[in-house]
């Protein structure tokens, strides 16, 4: 079996989700910061560019005179990372920082400032600002370029990314902690539920308290209902056991009395004594039989409902048993059941229901016993009839009342009928008594 922990799942889920969210945040923020750096660098380069362009004049033959250049000392220091270059058709001027290098050519069509990244001098990539300018008194356009080493931009960006990453890892740790606390708090009711259920196991009268979150409450209510049902079952079982014990007490008392009679040695009493013993044993057997029938009925309650029993085959089997008895072999059996008829009950249950009913029918029949099926209101009825004396209407009601002593009710039909009734009711069926056209009792069953 695969075991898994709810806590581990929740924690893992939370930490992974938080990590993913923070990672995305890191990527986006780093990207935004780099764009911001570029915009800032562009602003600075533009300021320098305006300073540069302010001095720009062209002489009549198109050559570009010496330029002051912007104030930033880095323009004076070779390979400092900050460069400018002004190039016209007849020659160009460059910042000292460019030394012997040249800024790469860019398309000479930008009438406003534009930026782009290019491969530049000293093997570095450059962030380049450029446009063309028409100097005063000149007919030729000159290309003005200012550049900043990309490395400077990146250095600031990387530092920011690193600091941000460190910070976000700290946040991640803090949030994971919070998630863990949340999971612990969320699962806490389960731990107390476990304790209470353990207590419930020790004492069936105990119930789970109502102090649970609304999400757990349906569960605790279901458990409480289950516990109540179990308690009721146990109570009923105890009651049954007590009933059985009481049922056995009378025969036991009778047995004791007869035993005393025998011991007192009156030989002429021995015959009545043994008859008394037999009566007591029969009463005990009836009590046990009734209890067994109830137990069987309880067991069949657990059976599946989609079972299909073939009543014809079952009735034939039962008749083959009854035909072996002295009375049974003198009875004429009629089976009016289609071979294809199926009832929604297990074969075993139907056997145990029809068995006592047929036995009764044979016992009371004069000559004939009939098992027949009819269809009524979409229900299949199964009836067992005999041509015996039947039961009086007043007694019929008695037999069907719960709690009537099985062996006394219904003029001897009692035990069999009561056993059948218990089983029929346990399997969700109906049992009714009536008069048969044959003259005796008709027991009708339906599921």
């Amino acid at each position: 079996m695969r075991t898994y922990s709810l806590r581990l799942r929740l924690l893992l889920g939370a930490t992974i989700a938080i990590f993913a969210a923070l990672a995305v945040a890191w990527l986006v923020m780093t990207w935004l910061f780099e764009r911001q750096l570029e915009r800032q660098a562009e602003q600075e380069l533009r300021r320098d560019a305006l300073e540069l362009v302010a001095d720009l004049k062209a002489d009549p033959n198109g050559a570009i005179p010496m330029l002051e250049g912007p104030d930033d000392p880095r323009f004076e220091k070779p390979a400092s990372g900050l460069y400018w270059q002004v190039s016209g058709p007849n020659g160009a001027q460059r910042s000292r920082s460019l030394w012997d290098q040249v800024l790469p050519k860019t398309p000479a069509d930008a009438l406003d400032w534009r930026t782009q990244f290019v491969e530049g001098p000293f093997g570095h990539r450059l962030f380049l600002l450029h446009r063309i300018v028409q100097p005063e008194g000149s007919k030729d356009a000159v290309l003005v370029q200012l550049a900043l080493d990309e490395g400077e931009l990146r250095a600031a960006g990387n530092q920011f990314a690193q600091t941000l990453a460190l910070f976000l890892v700290l946040i991640w740790a803090a949030l994971s902690c919070a998630a863990w606390i949340q999971v612990e708090l969320g699962l806490k009711p389960l731990a107390s539920l476990k304790r209470e259920i353990a207590a419930l196991r020790l004492n069936p009268a105990e119930r789970l308290s109502a102090a649970y979150p609304s999400e757990v409450e349906p569960l605790t209510r279901a458990i409480n209902d289950l516990a109540s049902a179990r308690e009721a079952d146990v109570k009923r079982a105890r009651q049954r056991a007590a009933d059985l014990a009481h049922g056995m007490k009378t025969p036991l008392a009778a047995l004791a009395a007869q035993s005393r009679l025998i011991r007192e040695g009156a030989m002429e009493n021995s015959r009545t004594a043994s008859e008394g013993l037999d009566r007591a044993i029969a009463a005990a057997a009836a009590a046990v039989e009734g209890e067994l029938a109830r137990a069987r009925a309880a067991a069949s309650r657990l059976n599946h409902q989609d079972e299909k029993a073939a009543p014809l085959k079952i009735a034939q089997g039962l008749i083959s048993v009854l035909e072996r008895t002295e009375k049974g072999m003198r009875v004429d059996y009629r089976l009016d059941i289609p071979e294809t008829l199926r009832l929604a009950i297990s074969e075993e249950d139907l056997t145990e229901i029809l068995g006592p009913l047929l036995e009764n029918a044979v016992r009371f029949a004069r000559r004939n016993v009939r098992v027949a099926s009819q269809s009524k209101d979409g229900k299949n009825l199964l009836s067992v009839e005999d041509d015996g004396p039947g039961i009086k209407m007043s007694e019929m009601a008695d037999v069907m009342v719960r709690g009537v002593r099985l062996d006394q009710a219904g003029g001897g039909h009692g035990l069999g009928l009561a056993i059948a009734r218990e089983l029929v009711e346990a399997t969700g069926g109906m049992i009714t008594l009536g008069e048969s056209p044959l003259g005796g009792l008709r027991v009708t069953l339906s599921w």
Binding site: I281, G317, V321, D332, G355
Partner: protein, 221 residues
């Protein structure tokens, strides 16, 4: 009369043996299924009393094995379970009667006597009238070698007629034999039975002798 008692309970087994011996049987006690199977296979008994819950081999299997080996002595089953499914299963396995525990010894003796009487009353176990043959031990009949499905009552009617071969049997006598008592209404019931039996074995096999009764005829001659 020899009886085999198969019962593992140390009290009940000897008690049955005592009971049967008191009734004039020579009874042997076996305490497990395997011994029972062996004994029943090699020795001839007139009746066997078999408990179902046995060590080593259960009672139903013992009976099935005997029947598979053509051992046809009557068998009375004893069982503590006493539910109907088991009774049906027992009869289908080849047993002849069933008694649930707890039982009265007198009841057991009565059942055993009835079984023995039923199986030993006939000199010839199989009666033949033309192509109709009646196995009085198995209580089964066949026509042209095909088994007939007869109810007990129908079989007993046919059997009685077969034993009174050549004589017309009045309906009243049949009723007395079949039902054990005479009742004016029963002639009707006998008539219905005859109609049913004729449907199963052929109308020409049971002749009606007006004023006398019914007679089984050899219709194949």
């Amino acid at each position: 009369m020899r009886a085999l008692v198969v019962e593992d309970d140390p009290d009940v087994g000897p008690d049955i043996v005592r009971g049967l011996e008191g009734a004039g049987y020579k009874a042997e006690l076996v305490r497990n299924g395997e011994d029972a199977w062996f004994k029943g296979d090699v020795e001839d008994y007139d009746v066997a009393v078999v408990d179902l819950g046995l060590p080593r081999l259960d009672g139903l299997s013992v009976i099935k094995k005997w029947r598979a080996n053509d051992r046809s002595f009557p068998v009375l089953i004893l069982s503590a379970r006493g539910d109907w499914s088991e009774k049906v299963e027992g009869i289908e396995s080849g047993a002849d009667d069933y008694l649930a525990k707890p039982f009265q010894m007198a009841e057991l003796i009565t059942r055993v006597r009835a079984l023995v009487r039923r199986y030993s009353g006939h000199a010839a176990p199989v009666l033949s009238i033309g192509t109709l043959s009646i196995d009085t031990r198995r209580m089964a009949a066949s026509l042209d070698g095909k088994p007939l499905t007869l109810s007990q009552l129908e079989f007993r009617l046919l059997n009685y007629l077969a034993h009174q071969k050549g004589r017309a049997v009045p309906a009243g006598e049949l009723a007395e034999h079949l039902y054990g008592a005479e009742d004016p209404d029963d002639t009707n019931a006998i008539e219905q039975l005859i109609v049913r039996l004729r449907r199963k074995i052929g109308a020409e096999r049971i002749e009606t002798k007006r004023g006398f009764g019914y007679m089984l005829a050899d219709a194949d001659r």
